[in-house]
Symmetry: C2
């Protein structure tokens, strides 16, 4: 005999409204990207007042992070990279990358996102999710020059490492200790962030 467990841990407030706003946000971000989606449009799609969207989710950045179901707030976790200063940024960024991806609780939801990278919406995932939300604040906080040229270079190395180490599992990358990863990749990231550009 089984009995239905009572629902627990539900957020207070109006969960259906929250869910409706999130569903609308996911749909519009997927269709039009971050820049092409306004809070007002999300509110209209969800059938609620725009003030309610701000009330529940704060800024458009907050709503985007909630819609992606990111396991960490990138604006918070990148702080040590910025505080470490520009000359140490390659190493600090590499340490952050490994700490987020080697932790199963953050890796699992990120892997689900990354598996969509080759789908038609992949450009927005990389452009808005990774470059705008994660690397953008790093570049701005460090004050690097030409971030719009440099940050995609950083992304090209980190995306390849995600694919080989965490998705495909190519050895010895898949089981390489964190310190070795930092030693190998930090100089690459540092050169992309502050080295000469063609």
């Amino acid at each position: 005999m089984t009995s239905a467990a009572p629902r627990r841990g539900r957020r207070p407030g109006a969960p259906d409204t929250r869910a409706a706003i999130l569903a609308a946000a996911r749909s519009l971000f997927a269709a039009h990207g971050f820049a092409g989606t306004s809070m007002r449009a999300v509110a209209a799609e969800a059938g609620v007042d725009a003030a309610l969207v701000h009330h529940y989710f704060g800024s458009k950045d907050d709503l985007f992070i909630a819609a992606l179901e990111l396991p960490v707030d990138p604006r918070v976790v990148v702080r040590p990279v910025i505080e470490g200063g520009v000359d140490d940024a390659g190493e600090q960024l590499m340490r952050l990358f490994v700490s987020v991806w080697d932790d199963e609780h953050t890796r699992t939801p990120l892997l689900a996102l990354v598996r969509g990278i080759l789908d038609p919406g992949g450009a927005q995932l990389v452009q808005d999710g990774f470059l705008r939300m994660v690397l953008g604040p790093v570049g701005a906080g460090l004050g690097i020059d030409e971030p719009e040229r440099r940050l995609p270079l950083v992304a090209s190395q980190l995306v390849g490492l995600v694919v080989l180490r965490y998705v495909v599992g190519v050895e010895p990358l898949a089981s390489m200790p964190a310190e070795d990863l930092v030693a190998v990749y930090a100089p690459t990231l540092q050169r992309y962030l502050t080295g000469p550009l063609p």
Copy 2:
């Protein structure tokens, strides 16, 4: 009124036997990888004599390349990288990479392959298709030390660049001139091929 066009340009010999061998090879390579697939097993799966597989396809490498439908023979196109010598290998490898991927005739079939990289068979595609068939001969021809540690590093950068430039189309990478790509990425590849390892 339409009329059926006559079939033309068909290979001489026994096309059904060739097709049966290729189908068997694709099935077994996908299931067991390159190392786990013998020419004898392909012949048995295709219901032909093993000598016939050698007759049609030569070596197991040849059969694998035919099964992948690679638009170029990697053992041929990597020769200039090897002939350029180890000190110039990062730049030559980057030039080869861009020339193959910027040519629509080679890019289109390669893109079809790359789109399978996140699927369950992706590990074999990277391990056998890219590391064993393309980068392996480069490492062996150049005589670099610890190729099994170095070549996956090279792969991690090139796979990321393929995803951002050719699959996802992130700017300014997607429209960056070939010479700029070489200037940015050749030093990275060179360090992975010959630089210090942790």
